[in-house]
Structure formats: structure tokens, C-alpha cells
Symmetry: C2
Subunit: 353 residues, 2 copies
DNA sequence: TTGAAAGCGCTAACAT
DNA sequence: ATGTTAGCGCTTTCAA
């Protein structure tokens, strides 16, 4: 490996501008106590020489690393990538996170960490020791893993927990899971549905529970029973099929079903169609996530859009702006929305769109 | 920002093991001239303390950064992410690149760089100065941008050019575009098609041209004319519709059409279906990319699978193993394959699957 | 085979 | 408002 040195360093700039290193450093970091004339002269040298500070050196000298680390569960992420099933969670997180980082001169680094491993701490610790990020963004199920949040708190690294509302260290952010399920349910109620089934996601994610609660409360508010209308899947297609069959086998078959993610909604659609049920005429479906695949089904699925990009954008912003300052007391809620498409209609009736 | 120092440094390890810093360094880097007993003792301390070297410090002292930088065209990538159309190029590149990096103790950093900007060099130069990667992976259209390849060569940073076969600095890798188009064409010929149309991609990518050549040569080899059967799109849906209409309006309408990517194939399918043509009975379609969406169309699309993950994996491997050693003389070819699904059949005949 | 010294590029702390 | 000094954690000389 060729020993490669920085081409243009702060020394070159200092020499070129005829000032001390420190002054250049002050200009780079927009620090006070630099006269405008001086600042201009140094900036001119910087521009002329095309100087860019080395983040390694910056980090070394005890300043920031300008790195935000976003971590996902390894197994699940790799499985999703390999399955190529049309989900775009990672893309949306990069979209929201990278762009916001860039606005602030930061970079976002994406890493995979194994949740189930007994050495999560070692694995995450290694990433942190190696990269020394200024902030970390956790996604489910990491965001509720005490080994992880505890380590981060101990290391005093600011971090965001996406999909978590628990109190404790770190900035909690949610996409309003309970409210979203409520909105979906209310939409169906407004269409005239009374028997509204629900396919829940894996217990490993507490957002699964929040979605169930939103549905249950909305049902209760509308004066309908929800007992016996809940089946649990694991976010995978097969579990969706099982849940769909269970719900469609009920003596009082639901006229509408909400699925906790797109894969299970797709499974539901396939299962219903396979049984000869017409969607949405005989069964309305609302899905969660709004990943690309929902626009390729027939009919296209009405879905709760999970604002993943907006949530990461917000997380980055809070991490950078707020730094290691006081964390928000309450979870930050990013509003989601219902996207109406062709899979919802009045019970036994016409498509509503 | 709290001044955060490395928790465990090489000093702690040295003290713990009762040796010099240098000896610890030698162990970390697997250098020779360390007695097994010594190596074991030091390794024991490392493990016990949970020591992980800081890449910032490693980079500072002139060694590697253990970072591989992969860059994509900014505008196109963001547009794809926002459109949420079911492509998974980025996911596949992360899958192949990140996992291979991890195998070697490296990390892959993904960045967006604007091709069309007049300051590509500044933008890329900044990323390189800031991160000091040990290698860079270029994707189209960056991989053929002389401003970029020239800069990298000048900086003596090893780099890979994906989707490029030109001679010159950097390791060239392709997914066998010409061969893939040939395979697709031959598959249709074998089914009995003679009038096989082709929808090309944007001229900005030379792989568009290679695909056209593969089709033309295969047609010539089979003894069929290709004149008048070629229309050019820009890889977008709308351009696919235009090309599809042009081809389907021909007096001698093709019985099969190959589209240079999934979006255009989808446009073709929609257009054909809209005209009342039955796919595959009246029109066979083969698509390029094999992104998730091809399994959500009806019928599912027969497609050339682009081995994106495998290509990135190979690029990373060559970059890390080979380092700044001699580059391969010939472009590295990663074999692609035809995935048969429901959109191809004998002309006027039955589905072949 | 091991250790000591010097320095990478930058910033914090302390002058001036 | 600007400059000087010391040191971050590591690796590369060079010495023993």
C-alpha cells in the first residue's frame, strides 16, 4: 500500500495565506475572533488550493468526526436484500439521512449489526471505536435493545432511537404507529365497515403492539368489537398467508383487514384472490409501509405511508443540532399518512376511487 | 460537543501486556518478527480490554483507512429513491460491497456525487480528502467520466470502474452486457421469433451500446435483419412507452421485444396490454436488470439478471487484495443470466413455462 | 526480535 | 484578534 499523505494540508494554507495554523483552523470551523479581512484572505487560499480538512486529523485532535452512524439489524437486512421483494427501507433511510447529513457537512455511514448475537456490544463497540461517530441512529429492533442503548449511553455518544417511545437515554422517534392504525381503521369505519380484522407484526417489535392498540381503540370508539379479529404474523409473507386464512375462515368474515406491513398485505391479497374474493368489493385491504410493491399489485393497495426518509432526516438534524445537549423529553412523532388506492371500498360495494 | 477520547488505546494494551506500543502495533497488523508467545500475550490483552484500533489514528500515521468509497450519480440515485419504483440497485451494491468489505475488516462508505456538475473534481476531491479511502468504486456514468478517473489516477488511489471496459487506469468490470443481450436474443430465436425488437437505453451509458451490439450480432448470426427494429429510450418509463408505441406501430410488428431495463420493459408491457395484445402469446418481452418489480407484473417478466452484488463483491476484493498493485489487463466480466418467467413464449403460441 | 523517537494533520488550551 | 505549544493514537523510521 502506497503511503499516501494528504495532498494539501492546513500548513500549506497557512503558509499561502501567511498566517498561523490556528487562524486557518478558526476559519475552517467558523469560529469567532477572526477579522473579516483575515477570514477572507484565508478562505481565498483555501479555495485556491482546494483544501479540505482530513476528518481523521480532526477526529484525532479531539474534535468531531463529522460521521453519523446508522445501524440496522444484520440478518433481517441481508435477508430483505437477498429476497428482492420490493421493500425500500434502507433506500429511504439513506435518502433522508444522507441528504440531511450533507446539508451539515456530515456523512452518514450505514452498518449492519447482529441483534441476536451475544456479543452485540463487542460488535457495536468495534464500529464505534473504529469510526468514532458523533452520533448513532438505531432502528428496530436495535432501538429497544438495552445492551445497545446502555453501551451508547455509557460512551456518552448521542443517539436516536427510531421506533421507540420508551423513556431513557437517546432521542426517541416514532412514525406514529398507534395513530396510523387508528387512521386506517377510521377510514374503513367511515366507508361503512364494521368487521375489521387486523394482522399484527412480530412481537419482537413494540411498534407491532402500538399498531394493534390503535386499531383496537378506534374499533372501540366506533362501537365495534375487535375480539377474535386479531391474528399475529411475523412480517413475512408466509405468516401473512396463515393469518389471512384464519381471518377469512371466520364464520363472521371481516369485510376489511388491515395488515401491519406490505408483505403480509400482499399475502392477504393473494390469499383472498385465490379464494375467489374480489378486492375491494368483497374485502377491503389496508397495508402498512407503502413500499414500492403496493403499486404493482392489482388492485394497488391503499396504505399507510411510513415516513422513513423524513424520520431519518429529523433524527440526523436532532443529533447534529442538539449534539450532546439535553434530549427531548417526549418522543418525537413524525406524522404518517394514508394513501388511498384501489384496495378499499364500501363493504360489498364500489371502489371508493 | 463533549471532547470524547478513545476509551481503550494502544497504550493501555501495551501497559497491560507489559510491552512497547510498537509490539502491540505489530500484533494488530500481523507483522512478522513477533514471537508466538509475545503475540499471544498481546492478543490476550487486546481481547481482555476489548481494544479496537482507531481508524482515524491509523490513517493519520500513514497507514490504511480501511475504507472503500462507493459513489453513485447523485441526481439519478435520489430520483430513483424518491420515485419508489421498485429498483434495488443501491441495495444490491451495498449487499455485495459491504459484506465483502466486512470479510476483510474494511468498511464501505456510500456517497453521492453529481456527474453533471462542473465541479465534479472538487466534490469528489473533497470526499477523498475528508475520508482518505483506500479504494474507490465507480458506477456508470461516473465510471467513464475522465475528470473522475483522471483525478483518481493522479491521486494514486486504486479504483474500480463498474460498467466500463475502456483501457486506462482503474480496474474495469462489466456484467457482460453484450453477452447478456445476445443470450436474450438467442433465447427468443430458439423459441421461434424472427422479428425481435430492441429498446435501447440512454446514450450516456456505453453499456446501452453494448447491449444493442449483442442483440444485433445475435440477430445477424441467426440470419435475421435488425434494421428498423431498434428504438432508443432513456431508461425511464415514459421513454419506454414511446419506444413501445413506435415498435408496435410497425407494419411488420415484432413478435418479441427486448427492453434495456425494467422500467422500460414495464412501460412496454403496459403499452402492449393497453393495445389489447396478449403477453406472451402475441408479444414476448425480455427485460434487463431483474429488479424486484419484474415479479409483480402480470405476467412476471423474463429478465436478464444483472449480478450487481457479485460485481461489487468482486470489485471490493480486487481493490483490497490487489491494493495498488498491477491492475488486470482485461476487463473483469461477471456473468449474468437469463431468468425465465411468464413473459416469453413461442410466437403466437403458448407460454414456454 | 523488541523498543524509542519522530511525526502524521489538526484543534484545545494557553499565551500574547 | 492572532500565534504558540502540546498532544490526540497510531505507524514509520531508526536504534538496540
Amino acid at each position: 500500500m502506497a503511503r499516501r499523505r494528504q495532498a494539501i494540508t492546513i500548513k500549506h494554507v497557512a503558509a499561502d495565506a501567511g498566517v498561523s495554523l490556528q487562524t486557518v483552523s478558526r476559519v475552517i470551523n467558523n469560529e469567532p475572533n477572526v477579522r473579516p479581512a483575515m477570514q477572507e484572505r484565508v478562505q481565498a487560499s483555501i479555495d485556491r488550493l482546494g483544501y479540505v480538512p482530513s476528518i481523521a486529523a480532526q477526529r484525532m485532535s479531539g474534535s468531531r468526526s463529522y460521521l453519523i452512524l446508522a445501524i440496522n439489524d444484520r440478518d433481517r437486512t441481508i435477508a430483505d436484500w437477498q429476497a428482492r421483494q420490493g421493500g425500500d427501507w434502507v433506500d429511504q433511510m439513506l435518502l433522508g439521512g444522507m441528504l440531511k447529513c450533507a446539508e451539515h457537512g456530515y456523512r452518514m455511514i450505514f452498518e449492519l449489526v447482529d441483534t441476536h448475537s451475544d456479543h452485540v456490544e463487542r460488535e457495536l463497540g468495534a464500529a464505534i471505536a473504529a469510526l468514532q461517530p458523533d452520533g448513532v441512529i438505531l432502528t428496530p429492533p436495535h432501538s429497544e435493545n438495552i445492551l445497545i442503548t446502555g453501551l451508547l449511553a455509557k460512551l456518552k455518544i448521542p443517539f436516536a432511537r427510531i421506533g421507540s417511545i420508551a423513556a431513557g437515554p437517546g432521542i426517541a422517534l416514532t412514525m406514529d404507529d398507534e395513530g396510523s392504525a387508528r387512521i386506517a381503521t377510521e377510514h374503513l369505519v367511515a366507508l361503512g365497515h364494521q368487521l375489521i380484522g387486523f394482522i399484527a407484526g412480530s412481537d419482537e417489535y413494540s411498534l407491532s403492539g402500538w399498531r394493534v392498540e390503535g386499531w383496537q381503540k378506534a374499533m372501540a370508539d366506533a362501537g365495534f368489537a375487535h375480539e377474535g379479529l386479531l391474528y399475529r404474523g411475523d412480517f413475512g409473507y408466509d405468516s401473512g398467508v396463515a393469518a389471512a386464512n384464519a381471518l377469512l375462515d371466520l364464520k363472521d368474515r371481516p369485510t376489511a383487514i388491515i395488515a401491519s406491513n406490505d408483505q403480509m398485505a400482499l399475502a392477504l391479497l393473494d390469499t383472498a384472490t385465490g379464494r375467489g374474493l374480489k378486492v375491494p368489493q368483497e374485502l377491503s385491504i389496508i397495508s402498512f409501509d407503502n413500499s414500492p410493491l403496493v403499486r404493482f399489485t392489482s388492485p394497488q393497495l391503499t396504505a399507510i405511508d411510513q415516513p422513513i426518509a423524513a424520520t431519518f432526516s429529523k433524527a440526523v438534524e436532532l443529533l447534529i443540532i442538539n449534539g450532546s445537549g439535553p434530549e427531548p423529553e417526549q418522543p418525537v412523532v413524525i406524522q404518517s399518512s394514508l394513501i388511498e388506492r384501489g384496495s378499499t371500498a364500501q363493504p360489498g360495494g364500489n371502489a371508493n376511487r
